[in-house]
Subunit: 207 residues, 2 copies
DNA sequence: TTCTTCATGTAACTAGTTACATGATTAC
DNA sequence: GTAATCATGTAACTAGTTACATGAAGAA
């Protein structure tokens, strides 16, 4: 094997698993669902094909233990003291500057300035609309039945919902601001040319 | 080869490159720096070892062309009409629900509920502090010399800076909110026990 | 008994990183 | 001439995805 000497784990899937299991012991199958519902929506995604091997690795490393073997071969995992310590030290350690970011949504936003202004406005309006709807939906769900998901698992759902909400609002606010900038620059009515240059002076007009 | 029939590209590195080059033709080296400075900070990261092969692929696909060959073997790439069209259709296409998210920072926040409240508060305070400082710095830089980076390349820097700012503020706001929740639940003074359960009722106290 | 869901796994592939390697140009 | 930076690349590895595969348990 290669799970050796108590190693670094600067990766994150293992910590996501430790975190979910620290809140509440679960089986691999349940973890898979948790990723689809909770974590996967905002923070980290993983399919069962990543999860199961990782669980076995964490087990071999002594960070997890099997607390129950149920029907059709299911195993319920719980975090060991060593696992708790690993999670704690990872969370308390200073994350590398700004952390790893790879967000397709954000990428799309940034590439807007490469589009011609009319297209950019279309995209911005869609973003504003979608994030507005998503935020409203989240608010509705939360108001109706408290923590939207994971009701049994305490704070997780609350923190996540609030974070998602603020995130949506921030993105929507940005989109609306960007639309204003474009419109103030006279796009959409006066045709191309002069003042649009504020946000997009260097497009070569090609194609 | 395998760059065949005008294919799907639901990936994103190629689009990031097309986007940057649509704003302004650059060499692979310059793109690498742009990823470090601009895009890489918020949206997508890539090292030169991913970029160069990808440029060659896009070139072979006819989405890019070499417009200049400079000193020590440098090639300046520009987007072809086909490339512009590819970028445009990708940006206008409806992104898959919520987009791919894999953000380590966000993961850390979510796992907070797995920590005991005192540790969680420490992390939250650090987050609030760090994002506050980052936002202040961004504001300062922007106020001083307009678009912080990429001054020659038009709107990109402006949109990015504003987005980053709102993002920082949102995260900071969330962290402060979360701190309030924990404190309202009586953590940090009254010791563990009763009301802390609001945010963390199910920690099994094990170890 | 058939279909669905639960529950786990392997194999092949894709994307991206780290480490290694090379050479040209500019600054001192 | 020596060091730093510009500029590109290859090879080996890691992480994660998709497709494939299996079987048990419960519902119809």
């Amino acid at each position: 094997m290669s799970e050796m000497d108590g190693t670094m784990y600067d990766v994150s899937l293992p910590h996501a698993l430790l975190g979910l299991l620290a809140v509440e012991p679960r089986s691999g199958y349940e973890l898979t669902k948790a990723f689809e519902a909770d974590l996967g929506r905002y923070a980290w995604q993983a399919g069962h094909t990543s999860i199961y091997p990782e669980l076995n690795r964490l087990l071999a490393d002594g960070l997890l233990e099997v607390t129950r073997e149920g029907a059709r071969g299911s195993r319920t995992y719980a975090v060991t003291p060593a696992g708790r310590e690993e999670l704690r030290s990872w969370l308390l350690a200073p994350p590398r500057p700004a952390g790893k970011v790879r967000n397709e949504q954000v990428l799309r936003m940034f590439l807007l300035s490469a589009l011609d202004p009319d297209d950019a406005l279309t995209v911005l309006r869609t973003i504003a609309e979608k994030t507005g709807a998503a935020a409203a939906e989240l608010r509705r769900v939360r108001a109706e039945n408290g923590p939207p998901v994971n009701r049994g698992a305490a704070g997780f759902g609350l923190l996540a919902a609030e974070f998602g909400l603020r995130q949506y609002d921030a993105v929507r606010g940005w989109a609306l601001w960007a639309i204003e900038q474009y419109e103030a620059a006279g796009v959409g009515s006066s045709g191309g040319g002069g003042p649009a240059a504020v946000l997009d002076e260097s497009r070569s007009g090609s194609s």
